[in-house]
Chain length 373, copies 2
Amino acid sequence: ARDGPRVRPIHGIVRAMYGNAIILAPGAFRSDHAKTAHGLVRGSERFAILGVVDADAAGEDAGTVLDGQPRGIPIFATLNLAISALDPRPDTCIIGIATGGGRLPAELRALLLEAAREGLHIVNGLHEYASDDAQIASAAAATGAKIFDVRKPQPKNELHFWSGQIANVRAPRIAVLGTDCALGKRTTGRLLVEACRGAGLGAEMIYTGQTGWMQGGKYGFILDSVVNDFVSGEMEHAIVTCDAEASPDIIFIEGQSALRNPSGPCGAELVVSGQARGVILQHAPGRIDFKGHAGWKIPPIEEEIELLRLYGARVLAVTLNHDRLEPAALIEVQKKLAGRLGIPVVRPLEAGLAEIVPTIRAFIEYEASRKKT
Amino acid sequence: ARDGPRVRPIHGIVRAMYGNAIILAPGAFRSDHAKTAHGLVRGSERFAILGVVDADAAGEDAGTVLDGQPRGIPIFATLNLAISALDPRPDTCIIGIATGGGRLPAELRALLLEAAREGLHIVNGLHEYASDDAQIASAAAATGAKIFDVRKPQPKNELHFWSGQIANVRAPRIAVLGTDCALGKRTTGRLLVEACRGAGLGAEMIYTGQTGWMQGGKYGFILDSVVNDFVSGEMEHAIVTCDAEASPDIIFIEGQSALRNPSGPCGAELVVSGQARGVILQHAPGRIDFKGHAGWKIPPIEEEIELLRLYGARVLAVTLNHDRLEPAALIEVQKKLAGRLGIPVVRPLEAGLAEIVPTIRAFIEYEASRKKT
């Protein structure tokens, strides 16, 4: 069993969820609507990702399309072709795209119905629940396929209020925040964990989104699906549990949205309720407006750093996303920002994160000495 | 009919909800656990408040106990005594206290069962639902009493995502925030609306808590009961609807918690998603720690003002809560703070809010001129 009692269940379903999965991203794998698909292609400890369904990119390797690195994950034009070609046969399909308003469009619905008829379990992170669709539900019941609507809010009796126990957590916390949504916070978090572990540090990440859970996150919760009153308590509970069970040297917390994203500000919770005293700030210098909200300008990064300082957290390093910038322009911005801010500014996808491990080590030592005094 | 289509329903129940109500606050009316009861005694346009049940304060007038101003609202030792004595007979009972973890303790449960048997509708804002209690539910069904669990999250198809429409709202917004929870934000908001209306300004308040709804708020939502993803959209929707229907000169938005309250930070939503460019900041200078969290210090008010400035909002005035301070000491603090901050600092409960109406008027004019240019 790859699963253990430390894994936080979502609606009590975790034990059933390890499997061989295919990602549904019809017409979208090349676009940034396929954020979940991209995360799963980059890596998942919860599912073996066997293939992707997207007619627009069929015939290619998903890794090659994503970032030029082949990963042995073929893209198929149809679900039927994928099931015929793959060995082992997939047992699960995962919706890998975000849709307008989180709804289930007709094309995706048809794919889910086909999957249910084929007996594939369905993992759905959209706001619209697949289990509410009578046809999909009855097809699944007939074949024994299970439907996991990941975003279904948990019942209140499974949720926690904030208690202040966070004060007793041994491992210091670093929040991985960003100046916008959808710019790589989760991926940077994964790379930070990898880099720290590679350097001999015990590192864990608290997931706060559905993709983090799909990728196999052991500790965390799905922030935007929790009734607001329980967000701080669920975060504290995830951190306390992680600290007690895994005894890491450092805990990263995956951020959501951005402190000043008008469509839903987020981040203060991590610093204030999760008491993250360090921040790694993901930034896309090529973006002018908040994603999806033309005319709503992303404010200067210096202000973001000052805002975080007032919340009680220090920005330890800035990690850059290359969106809309040529490689040379990105390096130019990197140099300028590093000079202006006086902290490490790095390009995680291009150059990895090994160079900021000493910064993280220094933060851990500083926090330990601060506790003693 | 005092109700109209502009009133936002909670679970479609608003039209049924105007009535003659009694408040249940057993053993607690004198304590600050009875925040909801106190708000309702101060005023409600949704219910006529006929009496309070609390054996510890029985025989007194609820207004006198609250702030020395009799309001003709008697306190009774038992529900039975209240029903016998009151004319008209109450048709509704409202839970007026907050309990640990929002649970329904045995004494309160017994009172609700008695109320249901007497045919009284039940308004419950606790996290634990009265309708989940089989005995209460069946007693209510037998007498025709209705149970309104105000905090039950609304179904997703009734909720809104943030859309950016806020940019088209004509009335400027002022967020009524605080440096802690439970220090009078809602009451200050009501007094602000009153003071503005008294001076001939069209003023509305967006409620964000259950008490605001119980008091008859026409526009708003219950922030802590909304699934997190919809908080910003529900706020925008309430503001947009209020602006379109009531065409006010100024909209106040009731704040919750505090920006840096570790048990659940809140406030950025109002400024960022609700685009409130002005803030009235409620502050209890006598408090050292966040309420209910000993050892978690309330940070300096200057920092709070700077934090809000970085979020894009200007603090227009500070309103003081007298908690733990003698009247003379409060006046002393008021003078010092006014000198230090250079903005009006007032005592709403002691001196009213008429003196900051010119500040609000200047804000409205400034925002109007800013829009033109």
